[in-house]
Structure formats: structure tokens, C-alpha cells
């Protein structure tokens, strides 16, 4: 359904994308997981044809998006990261306007609009100005506005940033339903919980490069991290940290914390503690983590997703 080949994009000297490639099958829920500034939005902007790459190719449904962008845009929907709505118009008016931009026939549009207002739980407030909505309600209308023309492919760029848990859950449920109904979804996020819950396949992106890709199980299986011993120290200095790293290669530091990756927690925990004491580090706290996207990302990049 979607093929991305060696996509490169720079803003001045800053390389936002350094040649990313991946493909997405029809009906797949693909997550692009990475921290802020990793290149997720740039990738979405290029895939939705509003930004030209310096090089590389994007094929959607077999068509190069730049050879016939008008036709390609008809089958894609984009939920932008920012709330891109007219605040002085009501939800009703906004949806009618955005549906009109996709040339949805008026009668069909009215039905679809009502269906989406109902789906997102906003029928009662449909005539209120968007300006008077809560952040979560705005996010919901922001998504609904991308669905009016029944797109086959939906790009969702961090659709749950800064919203309440109730709205987040509703968005998850709606997104899962859309996927269940056969929609191909590309979902960018820096929340590992979202990627873990929603996505069939995940591409981990950092500094403009896809550093790992696969299903959650594949990522876990291929990750150097199986389980993690998280040791937090009081005032960890560089020399001490260096001594610890020299004794345990499979570890990463983040501030006063060191993450020791292990495939056998019971076996490795006593020697880790001994080595810390021998190195002269004062332990403040020890935690154990099972492998997840956060630990995978940490093991790959040495930093946390929200850094």
C-alpha cells in the first residue's frame, strides 16, 4: 500500500531525514515511534505530499505521490499534530467545511458528519464554537475532520498530545475501530504505551533514521535488552560510571541512572550490585523492568523516548 524508499530531507544544515525506507501493507497499523525532533512529522509531511523530499520516493497505492498528488490526496486523510480547525466556527461548520474540501457530496457529507460526531461523542456540542471546546474535544474534532471522505490511508501525527485520559481512551477506541474496518493507519507518537497498544508494526526512528523495525514481538526478540536492572545513584561521577561500563558492556547511562540489560535477571543482579559497590558508587535505588519499547529505545540510543 505504501512504499518509502531512501527518503532524505534537510532544513539548511540540519538533516531531518537521512534516507529512511520502509513499507506498509494495506490494512496495517504502522507506528512511527521516536522522540521529539526525530523526523516523524517531516516523514508524515512528505508522505502526504505537502513537503518535497531532497531525494527518495513515496509510493501510495502504487502511485508516486508527486506525479499525481491530487488523486493520491483523495485516498489519504491526515490528522495534523496541531489542532487545525477554525476556532470561530462550530464543530458542525468545521466538519462541513473540511468535508467540502474533499468534494464529498453534500447529502453524504451531512450523514458522515453526524456519524462522526456521534462516534466521537460530540453530537450534543456540535453547534458550539470550537473555541469553547476543551483540549480533548478539539483533538476529537481534529481527527473527525480527517475522516469525512472515508480515506483508505490515515496519517495520524501525534494525535493524543496534551489531552485528558478520557479523550485519549476514546481516540484509541475509534482508531482501533477504523483499523478493524480495514483502514491503513500510520501513527506517529513518542508514547510507547500507544505504540504497544495500537500498532501491528513499529518503526523506531531517531535522528532521521529508522533504527529498528518490526512487530512488538520481533523488536523484543531482536533487542539487546531482555530485562533491565535500573540502578539510580547519588551523584554518579563520570569516572565511576566509566569503571562500571568497562565491567558491563551491555549498559547505558542516563544522568545518575545506569540501565544494565540482562537476559537472566536472577543471575546478573548480585554481580551488578557488587560491581557498583566496588566502583565506589553510592546506590540510591534499584528497579527491575521487563523489556518494552522504552527499554528497547534506550538500549538502541542511550536515551529515553521523552528526553
Amino acid at each position: 500500500m505504501i512504499g518509502i524508499k531512501d527518503l532524505k530531507k534537510s532544513y539548511g544544515r540540519h538533516e531531518a531525514l537521512k534516507g529512511i525506507s520502509f513499507s506498509i501493507k494495506e490494512g496495517e497499523f504502522y507506528g512511527l515511534l521516536g522522540p521529539n525532533g526525530a523526523g516523524k512529522t517531516t516523514a508524515i509531511s512528505i508522505m502526504s505530499s505537502i513537503l518535497k523530499p531532497d531525494s527518495g520516493e513515496v509510493l501510495i497505492n502504487g502511485n508516486n505521490i508527486y506525479s499525481n498528488p491530487g488523486e493520491t490526496k483523495k485516498i489519504i486523510g491526515v490528522v495534523p499534530q496541531e489542532i487545525a480547525l477554525y476556532n470561530e466556527l462550530s464543530a458542525n461548520e468545521n466538519l462541513m467545511f473540511w468535508g467540502g474540501m474533499y468534494s464529498v457530496p453534500e447529502r453524504e457529507l451531512k450523514d458522515r458528519k453526524n456519524e462522526l460526531l456521534d462516534l466521537f461523542g460530540l453530537t450534543d456540542r456540535k453547534n458550539d464554537k470550537v473555541a469553547n471546546y476543551s483540549g480533548g474535544m478539539k483533538r476529537r474534532i481534529n481527527i473527525a475532520a480527517a475522516l469525512l471522505h472515508r480515506p483508505r490511508v490515515l496519517f495520524m501525527d501525534e494525535p493524543t498530545v496534551g489531552i485528558d485520559p478520557q479523550s485519549r481512551n476514546l481516540i484509541f477506541e475509534v482508531t482501533e475501530k477504523l483499523h478493524h474496518d480495514g483502514m491503513t493507519i500510520i501513527y506517529t507518537t513518542h508514547y510507547m504505551e500507544e505504540a504497544e497498544r495500537l500498532c501491528n508494526r513499529i518503526g523506531i526512528i531517531d535522528k532521521g533514521q529508522i533504527i529498528a523495525e518490526g512487530t512488538l514481538e520481533e523488536l523484543k526478540k531482536n533487542s539487546p535488552a531482555k530485562e533491565t536492572i535500573v540502578v539510580t545513584f547519588n551523584n554518579l561521577d563520570d569516572q565511576v560510571a566509566q569503571r562500571l561500563f568497562s565491567s558491563r558492556k551491555n549498559s547505558k547511562r542516563s544522568g545518575n541512572t545506569i540501565y544494565f540489560y540482562t537476559s537472566d535477571l536472577k543471575k546478573d543482579l548480585p554481580p551488578v550490585i557488587t560491581q557498583c559497590q566496588e566502583a565506589g558508587a553510592e546506590i540510591n535505588q534499584i528497579e527491575f523492568q521487563k523489556v518494552n519499547l522504552e527499554t528497547i529505545f534506550l538500549s538502541l540510543t542511550g536515551k529515553q523516548l521523552r528526553d
Binding site: 505537502i50 490526496k73 483523495k74 489519504i76 487545525a84 474540501m101 468534494s103
Partner: protein, 426 residues
């Protein structure tokens, strides 16, 4: 407290718009008004008043008179056939014509009132008033310049007393001969009295009347001041409002709706065209409402000139809305547009005649006026309401054409700038 003040000063100077509004705009306006009211420039800023002259007498005396007028510092004489001169006034190209009627030469030598007539456009009454002041003293001194002053004065005096009894006429003539000698010979060569003063006294005695005829005069409804006020203000305010509409483009960019529009299958340029259409529609409504208001409250007769009014409203709206959209496409932020638009609109309005009639201004500024939308539009409204030109008249249609060309050029530039500045998401 000092730190707070310093912080405010720092913020103030970082805000380019505030700096522009505080310093650049007043400086620009002061400069414009100084030129307009004659307080600036090497020669005091005053410019020559253009006066058409039609010589129907075609004698040596009328030719010499023309030369005298042409030598005046304050007047630029344009010798023009009468028919052409009157047409020029009717179409607003010139403000007046001085007609030297047949019999001028005879009247000059016989001391009768000179058959001089100044026909003018009442809309330019102030300009013509200044001209009249310059002409009267010159006309009065014509006998000194090209005739025999003693004969002229005597003949004139005789004409004045011709209805008196014959005996009295002779007594008066005998006693006034000495006076005429005195006046014409320069106060018996009294060198303490300057020659100019002697001439002035004689001129006052001779008088310098010019018949004043309004070629275009105020009708019952359309007073010149009202047309100036409505047209001038309407165009200036329209420019401000279309800039506001144009700024919607920048708001859309800032709020993300522009990007969202780009996700849709529509051609990106349609976004700009949509703004242009909206700006045009609002402009048309704004002008219609302003003229309707002038009709209802001040009695401006718009219904007798509906065809021309609608055409001029359409042309003005097209040009002004293109200006607003271009400015928004040109600038990178709302603040930049606000500062830039205030400066440009005030300058255009000042030189284009929205703030004051353009004949107040020196010649070079009147030439600059044609660069502004205001000028063409205001002159177009004057064509309709003041000069009562038909909407098929070539002068009126030329102004419409200029406004349309301005609109077309600005819209084309707006498309280029929109692609470069607004659509560029890099």
C-alpha cells in the same frame, strides 16, 4: 524601577512594528504634509498653478498679455484652444481656463473693463482662488505694461462719470488730469516712493476684474466636499480592511489550517484565489454600504449614477483587495503586515488624495499620486458624482482600466509571493 523601564525599552525596540508606528509613520506623514502645505523644498515648496489660456482676441495686446501671465512665478500658462480647454476641465484634467475674449485689445486702450473670464471647476475652488489673487493685480497693471496708463485711466474715469451733467463731466476731467499725470508719471518723480508702490496705487485705481464662471458647479445633491470626504475615506478605510482579510492567510499558516488545506486535493493556489474572492466580496459590500450611508445621511445622489458607481466600486475593490492579499503574501508575520500596511496605506492615502485634495500638493507629489490606488479611485468617483461623466466616457473608463491593471499586477505578484513565502513549509 529603572530595570523595569529598561526592560520595557528593550521590548519596545525589539518590536519592529511599534518602532515603525512610533517613528517611521509620523516622519513619513510629516514629510508628506510639509510638501503638501508648502513648508518644505528649496523654494518654499510652492508649485506653479496650471492655468489654461485661450486667446480669442488674437491681437498684439492679447499676445503680450499672455506673455506677462507666463512670466509670473506662480502660474504655468498652458495656451489651449477653448474647446479643448473646456473639455479638459470637464474631465478633471485641468482646473480652469482664462479666456481673453474678442475686443480685449480695444477695451485695454479705451479703458473699458477687460473682457477676461476665468472658467473653472468648483471642485478646485481653493486652487482657483489662489490663481485669482495672482491674476487680479497683474490684470490691473496691464495698462502700465502694454498700454498707455494715462489714457486708460482717463477713459475709464470718463466711462464712470459719463452719466453726469456735461458741465460737471468737464470740471471733473480738468481736475483729474493732474492726478492721472501724477499716477502715470510716478508721483512726479518722487524717488522716495518705490516704483512698485506707485504702480500698485494706479492698479488699484484701475481695478483688475476678471469674470469668474463656474464651468462645473455643485448640483443640489453632490457637494464637492461630500464627494471628497466619502470617496477619500471609503478608499482609505477599504485598504485597511482588505489588509485585515489578507492577514487571514498568515493566521491560517500560524494556526495550522493552511497546512491542513494543503493536505486536501485542491490546488494550493486555490487557497489564495479563495482569499482574493472573499476580499473582493467584502470590499464591494463595504463600498456599497459607505455610499448608501452617504446617500441616506448626507444626500449624496448615488442612484442617478448607479452604473458608473457600480463599475468604479468593482474596479476599486479589485485593486484594493489585490493590495491586501499581496501584502499578506509578501510578509512573514502578522506584525510585519500591520506595520507595513499602516505605513503604505497612510502614505498612499496622503499622496492619493484621501486625506486632502491633491491640488494642495506640489507638482512632483501630484505626479506621485498616480502611483496610488486612492488617486485613480477618488478621481473615478469625482468623474461620476462631480463631473457627471457617463460610465462610457473614455476618461472614466481609463481610470477603471488603470485600477483593473493595478489589481491584475498586484494579484500576479501575490501569487508569486504566496508560492514563495506562504506555501514554503521548509
Amino acid at each position: 524601577m529603572i530595570k523595569l523601564a529598561l526592560k520595557d525599552l528593550k521590548l519596545f525596540f525589539k518590536d519592529k512594528r511599534s518602532v515603525l508606528v512610533t517613528f517611521a509613520i509620523p516622519i513619513a506623514l510629516i514629510t508628506l504634509f510639509a510638501f503638501a502645505f508648502g513648508g518644505a523644498g528649496k523654494s518654499g515648496g510652492s508649485s506653479k498653478i496650471k492655468m489654461q489660456l485661450s486667446d480669442l482676441d488674437s491681437t498684439t495686446a492679447s499676445y503680450e498679455t499672455t506673455k506677462i501671465f507666463d512670466s509670473l512665478k506662480s502660474i504655468l500658462v498652458l495656451v489651449t484652444p477653448l474647446e479643448q480647454a473646456l473639455e479638459n476641465i470637464k474631465k478633471g484634467k485641468q482646473s480652469c481656463v482664462l479666456i481673453i475674449h474678442k475686443g480685449f485689445s480695444d477695451s485695454l486702450s479705451s479703458g473699458k473693463g477687460l473682457p477676461l473670464e476665468l472658467q473653472y471647476d468648483e471642485a478646485k475652488e481653493i486652487e482657483v482662488g489662489l490663481l485669482q489673487q495672482s491674476l487680479i493685480s497683474t490684470v490691473a497693471s496691464l495698462p502700465f505694461s502694454i498700454g498707455d496708463p494715462k489714457t486708460s485711466m482717463a477713459n475709464r474715469f470718463n466711462n464712470m462719470v459719463k452719466d453726469a451733467p456735461p458741465g460737471l463731466q468737464k470740471d471733473i476731467q480738468n481736475s483729474s488730469d493732474g492726478l492721472f499725470d501724477l499716477l502715470s508719471e510716478g508721483f512726479a518723480q518722487d524717488s522716495s516712493v518705490p516704483q512698485k508702490t506707485q504702480k500698485n496705487i494706479a492698479s488699484d485705481f484701475l481695478g483688475g476684474d476678471i469674470k469668474m464662471t463656474k464651468l462645473i458647479a455643485a448640483g443640489d445633491d453632490n457637494k464637492v466636499g461630500l464627494v471628497q470626504a466619502v470617496a477619500g475615506t471609503a478608499v482609505m478605510m477599504l485598504l485597511f480592511s482588505v489588509v485585515g482579510i489578507g492577514m487571514g492567510l498568515l493566521d491560517e499558516k500560524q494556526e495550522g489550517t493552511l497546512k491542513r488545506l494543503l493536505y486536501t486535493p485542491m490546488n494550493p493556489i486555490s487557497i489564495l484565489f479563495g482569499k482574493m474572492i472573499a476580499a473582493n466580496i467584502i470590499s464591494i459590500f463595504q463600498l456599497l454600504i459607505m455610499f448608501l450611508f452617504a446617500n441616506l445621511v448626507f444626500g449624496l445622489d448615488i442612484f442617478s449614477h448607479l452604473g458608473g458607481l457600480l463599475i468604479m466600486i468593482l474596479a476599486t475593490s479589485f485593486a484594493c483587495s489585490a493590495f491586501g492579499v499581496l501584502l499578506a503574501s509578501f510578509a512573514r508575520s502578522r506584525q510585519q503586515v500591520q506595520g507595513l500596511s499602516t505605513l503604505i496605506i497612510l502614505v498612499m492615502s496622503a499622496i492619493g488624495g484621501s486625506m486632502m485634495p491633491i491640488f494642495f500638493m506640489p507638482a512632483f507629489m501630484q505626479k506621485l499620486a498616480i502611483m496610488s490606488v486612492n488617486y485613480w479611485s477618488i478621481q473615478g468617483f469625482f468623474d461620476i458624482f462631480w463631473r457627471s461623466l457617463s460610465f462610457t466616457d473614455s476618461t472614466f473608463l481609463f481610470r477603471v482600466l488603470v485600477l483593473m491593471l493595478i489589481g491584475l499586477t498586484l494579484n500576479t505578484l501575490a501569487v508569486v509571493m504566496f508560492k514563495k513565502n506562504i506555501l514554503n513549509l521548509n
